[in-house]
Amino acid sequence: MDVYDYKELWPIIILGIAFFVVTVVVLYWSAKKGHLRNFDAQAKTIFTEEEPEGEVSDEFPPSRKSSRSLKDRK
């Protein structure tokens, strides 16, 4: 590719660099805001009173047969 054709690549190279720069800026922002510290506390923020830590919150639903037999027992 000669020098003239090379100019055709500039838009995508510049966009790639811009992409990288934005990522680094956001990484800096997150570090400044303290998001890269105190990892243990942040890992637990997904748990709630409704869906607490230490409880499995999903299982297969009961089969319709076992649902019926449970109802009969009641």
Binding site: K33, F39, I46, E50, E55, D58
Partner: protein, 491 residues
């Protein structure tokens, strides 16, 4: 106040604050996003079905060229492109909107305001896509892979996406508390990356076409990144939310999860160039793409290790949860497909796999075995909480899981084994090309068989979903926040 204390004080118990005004109840948040999310899931399942039918047609045509050959709109080129766009923008993007925005709302503890805007934008997204896929079948498709949708349909998609994406960004902006869980990073980044990729690719290839090889470069920058910077982050966000959430155990190392995210953000953007190895572009650019691809080993190992260590000792719970069966299958696939992808970027490997079915198998490994399986898991977790109803049939969930798992395994093995042999033979000048093509037929037939398994799985999923949605009286009500009781036994 130090930065550290800022975060910890706001993140220790935001859900259980004494102030009712500050405390965000998950059920309230779920209720606020119910209409939009259910609409997106319905749309996604609709496109999944359409995409599956188109996929079956394309798969059969690959070894039976006369199949439906008399209809112009069902020729291979059109059906295959319609399948790709129905799956990527129809199933993939709709399910990203449904699951991604729901997780974002929950983690931001933000009830959805202006939900009508989200709903209307969703309607227009699907109208735009319908016009686009119809245009492809009509013969108006562009010749650019992953961007085949005709020019007249793309503005509606762009505007609709802007309205949907802005909602996610606003939820993040007005979140309660300062903490940002790793899933929020992934979702927020994906919401920025996708329009960036789409607009640049549309502008440089379709609207104001760059010259020659730059179009190819932009094409593969887009096509590879739409997988890595749109579908991958959304699926990883979902996995990082669901695995610890369902098991009730925090992620093994939050530090590693953050490291994985930033490594993806920094390295992935360059990876797409490896599709042009051997092409007429500067060698340094291809080398940079190869370096980016190989560097992806870091986030992949990090994510794989983190997920694995989180489930260690709880495999029984994983197997008993429909959500985690799908999600963990997807998470394991992420590790495998990504490592294979990094290897494929090496020149010595690429000279065998390039222009073969190996690449097609790799694409399905990523988009289906990884992304789609995790999103199925997301739907199994999300829907009972949105509708406050139980899934009606455990049997249909199992059919769905086994249909999908067996189907995609057959497909990936067949296409990658067949593709590798095809590549070796193509590099041997003594084997006639037509013979190589004939040698691929058994592998292509195996792909069609895999498609039948997948179809059975998707039909089971669709029946279970609409049964749950419409047969309200026949479906057991959700009584507790953790809706699934133990008396029903395991899978």
């Amino acid at each position: 106040m130090s930065n550290e204390s800022k975060v910890s004080s706001s993140s220790t118990s935001p859900y259980s604050s004494d102030s009712a005004a500050e405390r965000a109840e998950l059920s309230e948040i779920d209720a606020s996003i119910r209409t939009a999310s259910v609409f997106f899931v319905i749309s996604a399942i609709g496109w999944l079905m359409i995409g599956t039918i188109l996929a079956l047609m394309a798969a059969f045509k690959a070894h039976q060229p006369d199949f439906l050959g008399a209809y112009e709109f069902l020729t291979f080129g059109r059906v295959r492109s319609a399948h790709l766009n129905a799956m990527a923008l129809g199933w993939g993007s709709n399910i990203n909107f449904a699951v991604g925005l729901w997780i974002m709302a929950r983690l931001c503890r933000a009830k959805v305001d202006h939900k009508g805007v989200l709903f209307i934008a969703g309607i227009f997204w699907n109208i735009g896509l319908t016009v686009g896929v119809f245009g492809i079948l009509r013969g108006d498709l562009t010749s650019v892979e992953w961007l085949e949708i005709p020019q007249y349909a793309t503005p509606m998609l762009a505007v609709s996406y802007a309205l949907i994406g802005v909602w996610g960004v606003m939820a993040f902006r007005f979140r309660k508390g300062n903490h940002v869980y790793v899933s929020q990073w992934y979702i927020l980044a994906a919401l920025f990356w996708f329009p960036w990729l789409y607009i640049v690719a549309q502008a440089m290839i379709i609207w104001f076409p760059a010259r020659g090889v730059v179009q190819s470069l932009t094409n593969w920058w887009f096509a590879h990144n739409v997988l890595g910077l749109w579908f991958t982050p959304m699926a990883l966000a979902t996995a990082y939310y669901l695995i610890p959430k369902v098991l009730g155990r925090p992620i093994y190392s939050y530090y590693l999860s953050v490291l994985g995210f930033w490594a993806l953000a920094i390295f992935y953007n360059w990876a797409g160039v490896h599709h042009l190895i051997g092409g007429p572009i500067p060698a340094w650019l291809i080398s940079a793409g190869i370096v980016g691809s190989v560097m992806m080993v870091i986030p992949v190992i990090v994510v794989g290790l983190n997920h694995h260590m989180t489930v260690v000792g709880l495999h029984r719970e994983v197997w008993r949860s429909p959500t985690l069966r799908f999600t963990v299958f997807g998470a394991i696939s992420y590790t495998l497909v990504s490592l294979i992808g990094s290897a494929m970027a090496l020149r010595s490997v690429n000279e065998v796999t390039h222009f073969t079915h190996f690449t097609v198998g790799h694409a399905h490994h990523g988009v289906y075995a990884f992304f789609t399986m995790i999103m199925f898991g997301g739907v199994y977790y999300m829907m009972p909480r949105l509708l406050k109803r139980e899934w009606p049939s455990a049997g249909l969930i199992k059919i769905h899981f086994w249909g999908s798992a067996i189907g995609i395994t057959i497909m990936v093995v067949a296409l990658q084994a067949g593709g590798w042999i095809q590549g070796l033979q193509m590099n041997n000048a003594e084997i006639p090309f037509l013979q190589i093509v004939e040698n691929t037929i058994p592998w292509l037939k195996a792909r069609s068989v895999s498609g039948l398994f997948l179809t059975v799985g998707h039909i089971a999923f669709g029946i279970n979903f609409f049964w749950m949605l419409f047969a309200a009286g026949a479906v057991r009500a959700k009584a507790e926040p953790t809706l699934l009781t133990k008396e029903g036994g395991a899978a």
